[in-house]
Symmetry: C2
Subunit: 191 residues, 2 copies
Amino acid sequence: MCMLKELVVKNRSYRRFHEEVRIERGTLRQLVELARLSSSGANLQSLKYLLSAEPEKNARIFTTLGWAGYLKDWDGPVERERPSAYIVMLFDSAIAKTCFWDHGIAAQSIMLGAVEQGLGGCMFGNVNRDELRRVLDLDERFEILMVLALGKPKEEVRLVPLPPDGDIRYYRDADGMHYVPKRSLEEIILG
Amino acid sequence: MCMLKELVVKNRSYRRFHEEVRIERGTLRQLVELARLSSSGANLQSLKYLLSAEPEKNARIFTTLGWAGYLKDWDGPVERERPSAYIVMLFDSAIAKTCFWDHGIAAQSIMLGAVEQGLGGCMFGNVNRDELRRVLDLDERFEILMVLALGKPKEEVRLVPLPPDGDIRYYRDADGMHYVPKRSLEEIILG
């Protein structure tokens, strides 16, 4: 499974970007197309999307995001290292009562597609939803599920085994290398 | 994005299989490895997995699944057209309070990996969880999130535009061809 596994491994949560590398709206549409073609619980397709590739709008979305909860001494990327684009994933309550696990499926399709294009990003559930709703002037029928931040990654992320104490918190070393402890296959497959 | 898009398009919900084509436990482990390497909310990694590639166990899992809700005149695949293997995805409540959207991310990684290997399958949320818990002799700390049924697909699935009345229910024609109406990109991208 080399091809896909390569994408899956490369598809890390990136939080620092070459912000000067712009992302075209057409690229965002290609990524949403991957989500559109992915499976949906009971085929209800209750997910909707809002795109931002404009610096001004990006800046307003940026202020609503909570960055890297485990990096207490880091408030998120500085100017010029921020995402070049965002895909805001919404749940359309006029279509269904639940989106099942469609949001995860769609997000993974989008992020793998981004990595295939030499991009990368981060999925945000830690969002100031009231503020983002104002920024996007969003109708009440839409629930903000997550924000996908995208850009040309400017940091390296390495997967490492869990430490003996089992701490799953990611961390950075003095050089800014980002490490993510992952549970072993033996730990997650039962029996 | 040809490579990934090809996998995404091929990755349909398949419900009839060449059951005689067995799936090795090692293949299931490779697929779970793709889920293990995928991103996890707050990196908590609360998902656990149970594998079945044995005909007897498969038969017991099969009886707990609700097949194709929209195909009222079809009770699911007949013998010899049933899945060759299952991956049962569990939430480990000893690790976290929620799995966020990890289940969708993991399921998409697994299914795309299966398609890359010439396999395919279906994600089940419609599961008799009490019965499956008995079948698997599952500890209370584990919540059954979904069942991934896998096999060598024996049916063709085509994506089609939504009909004028907007009905999203999938259907089959007289030849058993399975059709899945998908909303347009214009409908799901707002603004």
